[in-house]
């Protein structure tokens, strides 16, 4: 109970800090996907005319992608930037990346509200199955937390992990079929897509918002497995390193 209120306080701090001194505040959270969406529509939609309802196709991937990108970008420095608290209060260090995740979940919730309302004009089919987005977000959040734990703990010792991550991210973005149809990358390069864990979560989101059929159980299972493995690896790395943080920040 005490820990819940601690995580709550830290998450609240993150949200306040992020939009402090900005006028548009949380609106920036969906300006970014919106801008990308506009670029996609202008550049790609005629190119990929095989995709019907391109706007909905791209949006469902973009909203999930930006959730992932924001979680990792925000958390990567979460330990370094909280050095004052870590050096004076006995708070479990894992709360810092965790609270960044929760702040981003809040943002995702707002983005989903806005976009699912806007998508009414683009033929989003309102049905109870949209609520499947909750377990899907839970799995994607678990995966993101796992990756974040690795990134933020390594970043304590080597600050270039953060720089490296912002460099690698666009590549990862274009390796994931968000703007283009999956079928575009075929043949031997298909393996590149299949090895990208984010692909499965984007596919899951898309099957909830875009596809006519329910997401197959096998896809849920794959996402669950990826999320559990990522979190375990992340937690293992984090646990091995956490006692050294205080001397390095």
């Amino acid at each position: 109970m005490q820990n819940i209120s601690r995580i709550y306080a830290l998450s609240k701090r993150n949200i306040i800090l992020r939009y402090k001194n900005s006028i548009a505040g949380f609106f920036w959270g969906f300006f970014k996907p919106l801008l990308y969406l506009l670029i996609f529509i202008v550049v790609f939609s005629r190119q990929f005319s095989t995709i019907d309802n391109y706007v909905l196709y791209a949006t469902s991937g973009l909203v999930f992608w930006f959730f992932f990108a924001n979680v990792t970008n925000q958390s990567i420095a979460s330990i370094i930037s909280s050095s004052g608290i870590i050096k004076s209060l006995n708070v479990p260090v894992v709360f810092f990346p965790l609270s960044e995740l929760i702040g981003e979940l809040f943002n995702l919730f707002l983005s989903l509200l806005v976009f699912s309302t806007a998508m009414y004009w683009f033929g989003l089919n309102y049905s109870p199955r949209l609520f499947m987005v909750i377990p899907a977000v839970f799995l994607f959040g678990t995966f993101s937390l796992g990756l974040t734990l690795i990134l933020c703990s390594l970043n304590v010792f080597f600050r270039d992990v953060g720089i490296l991550w912002t460099t690698v991210q666009p590549a990862l973005f274009y390796l994931t079929p968000i703007a283009y149809p999956e079928s575009l990358i075929s043949g031997k390069y298909n393996l590149v897509i299949k090895c990208n864990p984010i692909y499965y979560f984007i596919k899951l989101a898309r099957s909830i918002f875009y596809e006519p059929a329910m997401p197959p159980l096998s896809l849920w299972m794959k996402c669950l497995a990826i999320a559990v493995v990522m979190l375990s690896v992340g937690y293992f790395v984090f646990n091995r390193l956490k006692n050294q943080f205080i001397a390095a920040i």
Binding site: S5, R6, Y8, L10, R13, K87, S88, L89, F158, Q244
Partner: protein, 242 residues
Amino acid sequence: MGNDTLIEFDDVTVSFWQNNVGIHSIKDLVTQRKNPFSNKTILKDISFSVKRGECMGVLGRNGSGKSTLLRTIAGLIKPQKGKMTINGTFAPILAISAGLELELSGYENMELLLALYGKRRKDTDAIQSIVSFSELSDEVLRMPTKRYSSGMLARLTFSISVANDADILIIDEVLAVGDQGFQNKCMDKIMQVRNEGKTILFVSHFPDDVAKICDTAILLENGEIAHRGTALDMCEHYKQLF
């Protein structure tokens, strides 16, 4: 161990990985191809105990391991070796601007730190006592703390720490920056906390303060306890260092 022993250290050793000279990036790691970290011992075989209601001073040169010792006691650092027994709760370590988020206002910081400490977030009594003790105006407390002077920061951190009715108060050289009035007030508060039977661990470079507040003291030198004894004796030892 008796019930009245609050802190007991038995041969506690603390060491950290230390970044070897010049390796701060992955590029260096690849080009220089040596282990970037070596183990550096900060505290060596520290043994002492503090009884309930005892006030212990920690003296020593800069870099002798005082802050590391305090952080180990507070549970922020896990020792590599030795046994450590703690029977109480801690107020946040008092160091200048410790734990304050400089972008947040004074009020937001209070709320955050109280919650992290484990109090209810909207503990109005606690907030009230922080406000009145710090003597900072409402206008100041609404300002981001990055605009505070170091004395104002000290007022805020000190007030937040003493608002937590913890068993053990840890003070790490915080009194030096407040103005004379606030220093006296802090001293009075420390004496009051002391008279309430709480335990205080006190680090300072002013032997007179240590002699005034503490019963016993230890003198650290290069991570080891060089001397221990009554606060008065240790202050003499400390003065002889220079």
